[in-house]
Amino acid sequence: MTYTMLVIFIQNAVISGAAGLNQAYLSAFKPKTIPITGLLVSLFTILCSLPMYPLNRYYGAETSYMPVHAAILTVFIILWYLIIAKIVSKIPPLDDLIGSLIAPAALNGVVVGIPLLLNYNQKGSEISELFGAGFGAGLGFMLAALLIAAGLRFSDRAGVPKAFGGAPLMLIYIGILSMAFSVFDGGSITYIRF
C-alpha cells in the first residue's frame, strides 16, 4: 500500500517523470477509456515487473546496466502483449471493449519506466514492492490522464493565443501540476529518482 501511494502521488510517473506523457495526453481526449487503460497499465506493469524480480534480487549487479535491463524488459513486454492481445482477440465482446486499448496500455512509457526506475534506484527486490509499484503505476496514469482531461476542457477558451493551443498549453499546465506534486514530499522522501 505504501509503495502504491508513493507511486501514485509522490512520484507519479507521468506528472513527476514525464513517462507515458503522450499516451496520457491521447487518453485524455477519450475520458471514458481512461479507467480501462489505467487498469491495463497496472496489469502490464505487474506482469512485466514479475519476471524482472529474480534478476533484481539475484543478478542485480550483472543486469543493472540500463541498456541490458531495458532489453530484457522489452522482451517480456512484447511477449505479454502478444499473449494478452491474442487471448482478447478470441473473445469478441472483450475485443470490442478493450481490443484497441491493449497496445497503447502495453507499449506505454509507464509500463517500461516503472521497472526500469526500480532497477535504476536499486529497489524492486521485494515482491510486495513490485505489486505495489505496478498497481500504483496504473492508478497514477489514470490520475494524470484525468487531470489532463480536466485541463483540456479549458484549453479552447477564447483568451488562449493560437500558438499555445493544444500541446504547449497542456505542457505548461502539467508543469504547474508537477510543481505541486513535487512539494508533496517536501524534499525529504525520494523513493525513486527519475
Binding site: 514525464a18 513517462a19 499516451q23 540500463m66 512484447i78 507499449l107 500558438a163
Partner: protein, 211 residues
Amino acid sequence: MRTMSLRYNEKARRAQERRNVILHTLRSNPLVAGAAGATCIIGACVSIANALVLTVMLAVLLPLIAFISSVERERLDKIVRPVFYCFISALTVFLLSLFLDLTVAEGCVEALGIYAPLLAFDGLVLARTAEDAPLLTIRESITESLTTVICAAVIAIPIGAVREILAVGKLFSTPVETESVFSNPFFGFLLCGFLLAAFRAAITHFTKEGR
C-alpha cells in the same frame, strides 16, 4: 529537347512535393501537435550533452522506422505490427547505446537514465506506424522523419542548454547537477511548453510570409 523538359518538370515536381512534406511536417509533426517525444526531452535534457546524444539517437531511429514503415505499408497483422516496430526501435536503441557508450563518450547514454530505453516506445518514434498515419513513399517518409529530427533538435538543445546554465552556470559540465530545481521535470515541462509555442508561432509566421 522534350526529354529534357520532361526531366526538368519531374525534378520540379519532386522538389515541390519535398517542400510540401517539409512545410506540413514543420506545422503539424507529432512533437508540435501532440507533445510526442516530450517525455525524453523533458526528462533527459538536463544538459546540452544529453540533448545532443538524444538528437543523435533520434536521427538514427526516426529515418529507420520511417523507411521500414514505408516499405512494409501496413501489410503486417494489426496485433503484431505495434510490437514489430517496438522491437526494431528497442534493438536499435540497445545497439546505439552500446556503440555510443563504448566508442564516442563513456557514460553518455547512461547519463540519459531511463529515458534512453523509453525512446524505443516513444510516440514520436512510433508516430509513422500509427493506424491513422497516411501512407507515404520512401522519399517522403525519410524527408518527414529528418524534418521531425530537426524540429526535435531545435526544441531539445535549447532546453538542455538553458537548464544546464541555470543549474551549474556553464555548458558541458561533468557531472551534471541533478539536485538543482532546474533539473526537475516540472521546469522541463514549462520550458518545453513555452518553446513549442514559440516554435509554432515562428513557423506560422515564416510560412505565411513565404506564401
